[in-house]
Symmetry: C2
Subunit: 351 residues, 2 copies
């Protein structure tokens, strides 16, 4: 492993790549002056961008390739025909220990498929999951899975809970994060078999987290738990529903302040307070979906983000590496296995 932290970037992924990627890398460089960058992409397009950023150039190496994974490529198609793509080569840099972490703003499905193939999953983790953090009434929480696995077994959910709690400890700095399984109202028969089995396992297994049982959709934004665990279908719908609702309320607010002369004047007075609110809820602050459970740190930036958003995704990735995220997951999985073996001893009912 490189003594300095090395960041592999898919320089060609994202709606505004490569300009946005290079500008984002430059912001990340200012925050982490000890990092070096491997830029995977078209040299003829990257060189002119670096010419204008000499400080970044000094810590960057271009790894030339002209292949790019298309935004609408199916994962299987990207796997077959994208072996020389900027995305694939950037991921391989992590597998080959040339880089500590990879960030791409490209095609999510392709990134997940390639990362799984190249980096493999961590021992004991059957399926990787996509996680993100978001603002709540009580601060910030983490949710996973957000779309990598539409259907999940109880084992998958238990592993997501473990990875999510390690994430909350690593990135949010919580000592004993609270974890909840997303389910529907207590008046109904609660959820499917996977959910019920996962809940009973999480209750029975000693882990460094506080399992709070089932939570409901409204608990997500309330911040009832630090880690929201769910299957990829439900998590994807919930996250996008929350984003859509946030947009709706921002639009309502805009209309309200334009409704009358007095309201406009009111906005002028409250403007600096609203500036703080906008910063607090800025989607770029929460840019960066983490692919957890892989044998290397891989972060997906939103495809439509700008340089600041991309830099935030890079910084989350660096946080994960610096705090030994994957080593901690391996430790937890080992402890979990030990605890389970103990529980499976003859005479003790395994859960």
């Amino acid at each position: 492993m490189n003594p300095r932290l090395t960041i592999a970037l898919d320089a060609m992924g994202g709606d505004h790549a490569p300009g946005m990627v290079i500008a984002g890398a430059d912001i990340a460089r200012e925050r982490y002056p000890k990092a070096t960058f491997l830029l995977f992409g078209d040299q003829s397009r990257l060189e002119p961008l670096l010419d204008r950023r000499q400080a970044l150039r000094a810590v960057s190496t271009i790894e030339h390739t002209t292949d790019v994974v298309a935004n609408d490529a199916k994962p299987s198609q990207a796997l077959r025909s994208g072996r020389r793509s900027s995305m694939r080569l950037a991921i391989e840099a992590v597998a080959n220990n040339q880089a500590n972490v990879v960030i791409s703003a490209g095609n999510t499905g392709a990134l997940m498929a390639m990362a799984k193939l190249v980096l493999k999953t961590l021992p004991g983790i059957h399926r990787p999951a996509i996680a993100t953090f978001f603002p709540t009434q009580r601060g910030e929480s983490v949710m996973l899975d957000l779309g990598a696995n539409a259907e999940c077994t109880a084992d998958n959910l238990v592993q997501f809970a473990l990875m999510g709690s390690v994430f909350a400890r690593t990135v949010l700095g919580l000592l004993e994060p609270t974890v909840g399984l997303l389910n529907i109202g207590s008046e109904e028969v609660k959820g499917n078999d996977s959910l019920r089995t996962a809940a009973s396992r999480l209750r029975a297994t000693p882990m460094p987290m506080h399992f709070k049982g089932f939570i409901e959709g409204n608990d997500i934004a309330a911040g009832t738990v630090d880690v929201v665990v769910t299957d990829g279908f439900t998590g994807n719908v919930a996250l996008k529903t929350a984003e859509g609702t946030a947009k709706l309320y921002t639009e309502f607010l805009r209309r309200t302040f334009r409704a009358s002369f007095m309201a406009k004047l009111g906005y002028l007075l409250a403007r600096s307070a609203f500036k703080k609110l906008r910063m607090r809820t800025d989607p770029r602050r929460y840019n960066g979906a983490m692919l957890l459970g892989l044998g290397g740190v891989c972060v997906k930036s939103h495809g439509g983000t700008d340089a600041l958003g991309f830099a935030n995704a890079v910084c989350v990735a660096i946080d994960l590496v610096v705090n030994g995220f994957n080593e901690r997951i391996k430790d937890e999985m080992h402890r979990l296995d030990t605890a389970r073996s103990a529980l499976s001893e003859p005479g003790v009912v395994a859960v």
Copy 2:
């Protein structure tokens, strides 16, 4: 059927019953002076409430019972032991043609189970669904199912699409509502078998709606379609996630206006504009979850609502009856069957 519209009310259901129910009925009476009310509940508690509302008393009959379905009763338990409950008797009034519609703010699971047992489902509808409408960027939309059926077949989803579009035409007054199936991002393999089969059936079957295919979570608040169709698990999570996010933004707004003296002054100036926003997004406006697909009109009010919210639920129920909602669903189901038979003729591939 009664020549005047008769409303059966579970007078004992809800956190603030029976006071809230009686006060709500009085508001509904003002809006629909031709309605009469059957109040199911404890006479000794209802009489004093009616004493203070002589106009309501004049159009009301108390049907005495002291049994009440507990808020935490399981559906099966309520079915067994709640035969003389205010909820059960109110539903039976619709089945016996004593009333045109029933409204309860009690236990949702019990209401659904009892309504299914007593009112049965409409011909061709395998499962009833819970629907509500909500504010969007473009006006108002309908979503179903919200929790009656955690897992759904393709047939269920197609029937929900049909019922939802009839609902949008009846209550929202739309001529040809747009319908979307809630799914996850286009980058993933899209959804499960039920979703894909339902989509191909909705594309192939001629119905008085415009099927727009798959939509995502962010499309809900955007108002991309008039009718959002989904299984009860996803719908329940999505609705509650949207509610939680709306609450979060309201709280952010409150904090923002309290952040400084200038911001407080700004609020005073914009106050009347914000009053309109509050009215627009008042949860009481959207109170009333409709149990669609039953052989009688049954509406669930939110348990924690007040008199105004309960009155809104009563008015939605009246709207459904006045506009012949169930007759329209029967017509559509008949047309759908005819269209399907035509498609199933030899030589034509059935969908």
